[in-house]
Amino acid sequence: MQNKSNKEIKGIDIDVINQYTGEKWYYTDIVKEHFFKPRNLLLEDPSDDAFNATGMVGSPACGDMMHMWMRVDPTTERIQDLKWKTFGCGSAIAATSMYSVMLTENGGLSVADALKVKPQHIMERLGGLPNRKIHCSVLADKAFQKTANDYFRKTGQNQRIVIEGARVIDERLNITDKDIEEAVLEGAMTLEDVQKKLKVGVGMQTEALVEIEQLIRFYSEKYYG
């Protein structure tokens, strides 16, 4: 699906050229538009009562980071305002900008509906992103989950808090199945690739290595078929 949408992209005149491989990355005009003119950017430090929830998320492998602020109407639970700041590449900035538009347009989504917006929906609205950049760039849904959790916590709706489970595989380095999933998404296909990225399992027992290999196979099949 992602490949297809990339092929359909036309008329792009901004590209990033990799210094080692010379490979071009094309961004769509929509990505370009949101990168150069980000919507709903938080420009000044907010006053205490301007927002009723906030969340921050980062991707350790890529170094992207995102901070989100939300104001919810307590009676309707509709999102009235969603502001953000992002440290990351062009597509990360554009993806956050687009996400903030999607949640606040047409009077704003309810928090429950907003939680149903997935990275692929953001991708579609952006007209596609280079495959490799998707999981790094599209952190907005994760930042929003944290923000929503903050809102639920503050409004005493603890039963609605969702904590994404992660299982620790390597105790010493605190590496989880999520980290291995990220490594696979970045293109790691073998135990060696993953070890290089995460330094996972160096000097570990054979059983643990087998588990990591199984996870690599699982995520490879999940994402690459």
Binding site: I14, V16, N18, Q19, Y20, T21, E23, W25, F35, F36, P38, L41, L43, M56, V57, G58, S59, P60, A61, C62, G63, D64, M65, M66, H67, K85, T86, F87, G88, C89, G90, A92, I93, R132, K133, C136, K146, N149, I163, E164, G165, A166, N174, T176, K178, E186, G187, K197
Partner: protein, 427 residues
């Protein structure tokens, strides 16, 4: 952003240089008219052979080497791979230990990874915070079973110039003590970035193998040369004909080789003048950025660096955004940010300086060249502060100056996850 044509300011000469028109003229006859195979005995072959050997003589002259010591290759990567694997496989029975540094080009580091799988032991020496290797650390790592030391002449990302002569002196001293081992360890250097700016006289700094590349010196892409000192043998990578002293099989790329030799000659002739010229521009750019833009840090030694290299981390922002913005203003440069690398790994060179990831993501490299003017530098100094200001408004992070570890570790900790930074746990 607008339709009006803006003058391009190309500041990525460490990635590639345009072909010099004088070199194109020199190469031109070797496409159609002088097409012979230099291996043939008849006239067309002899003329091609003459061109090949003239090129070899010219290159050897600049290196203060013998003609038989020059092997033409397809470029820097092939030169490095041929040198490293060639020595390793030829001298494996003398020992299986190889020394190099953490800031080498991937052509060296990934070849060493491959050799590791063949049973070689690799020691990578760390560089100082200024990006320069301490010769004492190389000497300390030398062992009786060390067969090869590989240290780049000048780094491609941060431009730092390595003390080759001093390293060579210590290796020689070590060799003299270990006389039973013939002449191992050998000393290899990747001089792809140095060519055109630094002295290439191999005798003056005493290397045994040296690699150069055409496309960094205004020559054609896909051609380079490897110097292998007489008496040093290498196992070939390509098998076939007896070309290049049986060390690199395949019909010679005469067209490219003529261009490479001409490029090296011109680069060497104009070296002093051009080095001084770009050095002034480099200093103007470095001083300008550090002065005008707050929270910027120069990566690599201030003085022991290539005259055309500027590498600066602009804290709190990310390199790809800077590249996209500058490109829209007509300026081309590069970054060590993970976002623009194939593997999504941030620059191993910036990390090797002991800096946290954010410095690598924030690093911007400008490499000047023959086309660079003082007005170009003025334009960068005018545009870059505006771009920085815009991107800093978007960024939520604030990296500490002289930081040694990750900023904002709390963001990296998921719900129910722990992240360790600065000896603290975050939840």
């Amino acid at each position: 952003m607008s339709d009006k044509v803006i003058k391009r300011i190309y500041m990525d000469h460490a990635a590639s240089t345009p072909l010099d028109s004088r070199i194109r003229v020199a190469m031109d006859p070797y496409l159609e008219e002088e097409f012979g195979n230099p291996g043939a005995l008849y006239r067309e072959g002899r003329r091609a052979k003459d061109a090949l050997e003239n090129a070899r003589e010219s290159v050897a002259g600049i290196l203060n080497a013998d003609m038989s010591e020059i092997i033409f290759t397809s470029g820097g990567t092939e030169g490095d791979v041929l040198a490293l694997t060639g020595i390793a496989r030829m001298y494996a029975n003398y020992g299986k230990h190889i020394i190099s540094t953490t800031i080498e080009h991937h052509a060296v580091l990934h070849t060493l990874d491959a050799l590791k799988k063949e049973g070689f032991e690799i020691t990578l020496i760390e560089v100082g915070q200024n990006g320069i290797v301490n010769p004492q650390h190389i000497e300390d790592a030398l062992r009786p079973d060390t067969i090869l030391v590989s240290v780049m002449y000048a780094n491609n990302e941060i431009g730092t110039i390595q003390p080759l002569a001093e390293i060579a002196r210590r290796i020689k001293k070590f060799r003299d003590i270990n006389t039973d081992k013939m002449s191992v360890p050998f000393f290899h250097t990747d001089a792809c970035q140095a060519a055109g700016y630094l002295d290439l006289d191999v005798k003056s700094f005493g290397v045994d193998l040296m690699v150069m590349n055409g496309s960094k010196i205004y020559g054609p892409k896909g051609v380079g040369a490897l110097y292998v000192r007489k008496g040093v043998r290498i196992k070939p990578m390509f098998f076939g004909g007896a070309q290049e002293g049986k060390r690199r099989a395949g019909t010679e790329n005469i067209f490219g080789i003529v261009g490479f030799a001409e490029a090296l000659k011109i680069a060497n002739d104009e070296r002093d003048e051009e080095s001084n010229r770009v050095k002034n521009l480099r200093d103007k750019l470095i001083d300008g950025i550090l002065k005008i833009i707050p929270r910027t840090v120069l990566n690599g030694d201030r003085d022991l660096r290539l005259p055309n290299n500027v590498n600066i981390s602009i804290l709190d922002i990310e390199g790809e955004g800077v590249i996209l913005y500058l490109d829209s203003y007509g300026i081309a440069c590069s970054t060590g940010s993970a976002c623009t690398s194939e593997s999504l790994d941030p620059s191993h060179v910036i990390l090797a300086l002991g800096r946290p990831y954010e410095y690598a993501h924030a690093s911007i490299r400008f490499t000047l060249g023959r086309s660079t003017t003082s007005e170009d530098v003025d334009r960068v100094l005018e545009v870059l502060p505006r771009v920085t200001e815009t991107l800093r408004k978007i960024s939520p992070i604030k990296v500490e100056m002289d930081a040694k570890s990750m900023s904002h570790p709390e963001a990296f900790a998921g719900e129910g996850l722990r992240v360790k930074a600065k000896s603290k746990n975050y939840k």
